[in-house]
C-alpha cells in the first residue's frame, strides 16, 4: 500500500484530535465490520457577517492510516468554514488535499466528509 507523504504526515501527527465537550454537533459513521469508525465533533459560533461558522472541530477515529489521515484532513478543511461551505466539502476534496489516496482506500476509508456532514445535521436538528 503506497501512501502519499501527506497521508503519512497526518497519520503520524493528526491535527485536531480528541473530543470536544459540549459540542454543538457530533457525527459518527462507519462500522466495525469494515474496520473504520469515525466521529467528528463541531462547535458552532455565530458570526455577524458570515452566519454560522465552525469555530472548533475535532475527531476520534478507529481505523487504518487513511481513515485517520482523512479525519485529520477534514478538520483542517472545515475549520472556520460556514456550515454551508462545510457541507460542500467532498471526499474528493479530502483525497486531493492529501495528495491522493490508494484507489482501494477511496471508498472504504474516506468517510470523513460523511462524518462532518452528519455532525452539521446533528447540530441543525438540535436547533429545530
Amino acid at each position: 500500500m503506497q501512501y502519499s507523504k501527506k497521508v503519512l504526515e497526518h497519520f503520524t501527527r493528526p491535527h485536531n484530535q480528541g473530543l470536544i465537550k459540549n459540542a454543538s454537533g457530533v457525527g459518527m459513521v462507519g462500522n466495525p465490520v469494515c474496520g473504520d469508525l469515525m466521529k467528528i465533533y463541531i462547535k458552532v459560533k455565530k458570526d455577524k457577517q458570515r452566519g454560522e461558522v465552525i469555530n472548533k472541530i475535532s475527531f476520534e477515529t478507529l481505523g487504518c492510516a487513511s481513515a485517520i489521515a482523512t479525519s485529520s484532513m477534514i478538520t483542517d478543511l472545515a475549520k472556520d468554514k460556514t456550515l454551508e461551505e462545510a457541507m460542500k466539502i467532498t471526499r474528493q476534496d479530502v483525497a486531493d488535499a492529501l495528495e491522493g489516496l490508494p484507489p482501494i482506500k477511496m471508498h472504504c476509508s474516506n468517510l470523513a466528509d460523511e462524518a462532518l456532514h452528519e455532525a452539521i445535521k446533528d447540530y441543525q436538528n438540535k436547533r429545530k
Binding site: 480528541g18 465490520v33 469494515c34 476520534e60
Partner: protein
C-alpha cells in the same frame, strides 16, 4: 540480521541462510546444466538434484521418488486438489459422478480457492469444516463430514496466521479406517496436509504422520523462494495438471529449478541438524513475548490455543486499535510484523482465519501476528514490545471511545 530493523514476520518468509546461498551459487553460472540433458553439464546438475532430493526424502522419511519438486506450496496445493480430481475422473466408472472434498475453513487461500474453483466448475462438492474457538479442527467433525464419495481430505498441519497445530496423525488414522471398509476397486480417500508452517518445528515423518500428500515451500525454512515440493506417497491417486516434459516422474513438467533445489536440500539438511535447539530457544522467546505483551498492554488477547501452537507464533488482538495503522506505525519504528486486518491486504473483510475461530470483525481488524525465527534475539523482543506499547497507546488515544460509543448507540 545485518541491519537494525527487527524482523518478526518469519511466517511470511525467512532469509536465505548464508550456507544455503553458498551451496547454490555455483549452480547459476558454472554448473548451469539442464538436469534432463545427458551430457556432462546435465549430469552434473542431475547429480545435484538427486543429492538434494535424497536429503529431503531423508528428512520426511520417504523414498526419493516420492518427492515432487514444484515452485512452492501454492503449486503443490493446486496440484493436490486438481490432480486428485483428475485421477478420479480418469476412471470411466466415475464419469458423471461428482466426488466430495473435505477441508477446513481456515486453510491457506491456495487450498480454499482451489476448492472453490473446482466447486464452481461443477467437479466436486466441498465441505469446509469450522475449527474450534481454540483454532484446532476436531477429528470428530471430519468423521461426521466423510461421505462414501469423499476423495480428498486436506487439512493444514499448522495454521499460518494463529500457529495452531492440527491433529494430522489422528485424521490419518480416521482416513485409513474409512478406506479399509471400501471395496477394492472403489476410489480411496486421499489425505493431504499443507505442512508449510510446520516443517521448521514439528515431526514431518510421513510414516508417523500417515499422510498421502504433503506440501511445503523452501523459503519458510531459510531456503530460496520459488521452490517447494509435494510429497506423493507411492500409489496415491493423483495426476499431473501441467503438461510438458517428463520431469519429476512425469508429475510436474518444467525444467528443474536446479539452484532452488540445491538450496532447498541444504536448508533441510541444516534444519534437521539444528531443530531441537532452535525449537527450544524460539519457544522460550515466544513465551517471553506473549507474557510481556499480555502483561504490559491492556485489553490485549492471544488468538488461538496457547498450548497447541507453533513455537514461533504469537497472534494478538488489541481493542480500539486497527491492524493496518498498527503495522504501519511499527514499520516506521523498524519493526516488521503482519496483521489480519482487511485494510492491509486490499481485501474487504478481515482475516478468514480469525473470523473462523469466532472473533468479531473488529477483533480481527485489530490483530497483530508476530512470528519469530532462528535469528530472533531477546533484545529484539524487548525493543519490539517497548515500541508496540508506545504505538498502541498513541492509536488508542486517536480512537478514543468510538467503538464503545458505537455499541452503546446500537
Amino acid at each position: 540480521m545485518p541491519n537494525k530493523k527487527i524482523y518478526l514476520d518469519y511466517a511470511a518468509t525467512t532469509p536465505v541462510d548464508k550456507e544455503v546461498l553458498g551451496e547454490m551459487l555455483p549452480y547459476f553460472s558454472e554448473k548451469f546444466g539442464n538436469a534432463m540433458s545427458i551430457h556432462s553439464f546435465g549430469q552434473e546438475a542431475l547429480q545435484a538434484v538427486d543429492s538434494a532430493r535424497g536429503k529431503i526424502a531423508d528428512f520426511f522419511g520417504c523414498a526419493p521418488t516420492e518427492i515432487v519438486f514444484t515452485s512452492g506450496a501454492t503449486e503443490s496445493n493446486n496440484l493436490t486438489v486438481k490432480g486428485v480430481l483428475k485421477s478420479y475422473y480418469s476412471k470411466a466408472e466415475n464419469r458423471g459422478k461428482k466426488p466430495h472434498i473435505i477441508t477446513s475453513e481456515f486453510e491457506h487461500h491456495c487450498i480454499l480457492d482451489s476448492c472453490k474453483a473446482v466447486e464452481k466448475d461443477g467437479l466436486a462438492d466441498v465441505s469446509y469444516i469450522k475449527p474450534g474457538k481454540d483454532g484446532v479442527v476436531k477429528v470428530s467433525e471430519i468423521a461426521k463430514a466423510i461421505r462414501p464419495n469423499t476423495v480428498l481430505i486436506s487439512i493444514m498441519y499448522v495454521n499460518n496466521e494463529i500457529g495452531t497445530v492440527q491433529p494430522i496423525g489422528k485424521i490419518a488414522k480416521l482416513v485409513k479406517k474409512t478406506n479399509k471398509n471400501k471395496m477394492e476397486n472403489e476410489f480411496k480417500t486421499v489425505f493431504h496436509t499443507d505442512a508449510t508452517q510446520a516443517v521448521n518445528y514439528f515431526d514431518c515423518d510421513v510414516e508417523r504422520l500417515g499422510v498421502d500428500l504433503l506440501s511445503m515451500s523452501a523459503h519458510k525454512v531459510y531456503g530460496p523462494k520459488g521452490i517447494g515440493m509435494l510429497y506423493v506417497r507411492k500409489g496415491t491417486a493423483i495426476r499431473k495438471i501441467q503438461d510438458g516434459g517428463d520431469q519429476e516422474y512425469k508429475m510436474r513438467a518444467g525444467t528443474h529449478n536446479v539452484t532452488g533445489i540445491v538450496g532447498f536440500g541444504k536448508a533441510i539438511e541444516i534444519l534437521k541438524k539444528n531443530m531441537p535447539d532452535n525449537t527450544k530457544k524460539i519457544q522460550d522467546l515466544r513465551d517471553y513475548l506473549i507474557g510481556k505483551v499480555l502483561g504490559e498492554i491492556p485489553n490485549a488477547r492471544l488468538n488461538g490455543s496457547k498450548i497447541r501452537r507453533s513455537p514461533n507464533n504469537a497472534n494478538f488482538s488489541f481493542r480500539d486499535i486497527e491492524g493496518e495503522g498498527l503495522l504501519l506505525s511499527l514499520d516506521m519504528e523498524g519493526i516488521a510484523c503482519s496483521t489480519g486486518s482487511a485494510c492491509s491486504s486490499g481485501a474487504l473483510s478481515p482475516s478468514h482465519v480469525l473470523l473462523s475461530i469466532g472473533l468479531k470483525a473488529e477483533q480481527a481488524h485489530g490483530s497483530l501476528r508476530m512470528t519469530l525465527g532462528k535469528y530472533t534475539t531477546k533484545n529484539e523482543i524487548d525493543l519490539a514490545v517497548k515500541k508496540l506499547k508506545i504505538v498502541a497507546e498513541r492509536l488508542r488515544k486517536i480512537s478514543g471511545s468510538v467503538l464503545a460509543d458505537y455499541y452503546s448507540k446500537k
